[in-house]
Symmetry: C2
Amino acid sequence: MNKKEIMDVLNFRHSCKEFDINKKISDDDFEVILEAGRLSPSSMGIEPWKFLVIENQELKNELGAVCWGGKVQMPTSSHLVVYLSRAAKELRFDSNYINHLLKEVKHLPEDVVSTYKGIMKSIEEARFKEDSDLEAYASEQVHIALANMMNVAAMQGIDSCPIGGIDRKAVEKILVDRGLLDTDKFNIALCGAFGYRVNDPGEKLRQGMDEIVTWIK
Amino acid sequence: MNKKEIMDVLNFRHSCKEFDINKKISDDDFEVILEAGRLSPSSMGIEPWKFLVIENQELKNELGAVCWGGKVQMPTSSHLVVYLSRAAKELRFDSNYINHLLKEVKHLPEDVVSTYKGIMKSIEEARFKEDSDLEAYASEQVHIALANMMNVAAMQGIDSCPIGGIDRKAVEKILVDRGLLDTDKFNIALCGAFGYRVNDPGEKLRQGMDEIVTWIK
């Protein structure tokens, strides 16, 4: 892609405040957005994410009603994603999940699995003694997946909005009541709405390059 | 872009373990990568990031020597980015930085600035009483910028590697000694190396779509 095309994608993406309720993202298009999430990198390759993809209008409305940051975006979106991140005990070096990941997903031989777990153990001891620290780290990785999905949406002319302004307790209750969330295994990281814009966005206002970049030549 | 082209970008990007020290990213290409970071979304629009872009070989070597996750990537990279995230006191609703952002970057009128700060204050009281919580939230936003930069690198055929395995204390000392980091204002989030691969990557191994996605139709 040339620079003009890339800048067009970067400028197309904005935090869309209202989606056209009559326009649905096709399954084919959304599949590519999901691939962007699935193929995202994560620290130590832990893929600590799960995506609840909500097309159900009633559920979108229900969530929008308890999330001040998504009041309009959630109900009007074509696809609303609730980003879950793995709970701390899922991510400890000796968990079933990590074992599954190393053996059945990455197909690592037994001796490499041992070495890998040893490294994870020492990282845990150094940086993640507290569950909350490990969960903050997992949530960071989920933000990489979110960014990649918004990017690939924009590459397809699809709008998006990251939504952090959510009532996590209320969202948790709604999802647990519907059997969609196992709070032993997952936390709610944030939401992301996808669809097609109603209005064109205003000018993108950001700090200048000189304010956020220092070059060391 | 069509799906094939998008999937090519997604598959091109991998966590590159060694870069070709003889290939440098052009200023023009890197400028677009930086634009991807600069134009990234962030919660409440706080843009809590700063990018130290290191081309200096001596400094890349020095950092590589203290970062087990970047031993090869850092010294061989064309451009090594240290991602800084704003410290908690910089992000409080009544800080100079937030004031600057709202007034001089977003050009919001005085009454909107007041409303905005009021919302930030209530979010802080609800979610970010502890500085560490606010800093974890800032670091999440920095991961969005990182992901966007790796994406746009891939769109230009440029490789990258996110590097979380760093000795933050040692990196901090190196940067402070060179006058590159004000620890009152910034924390070290992680690093990202950019350049051109030496070796082609292995197969991308990830959990299957059915393991990470739940559809609610």
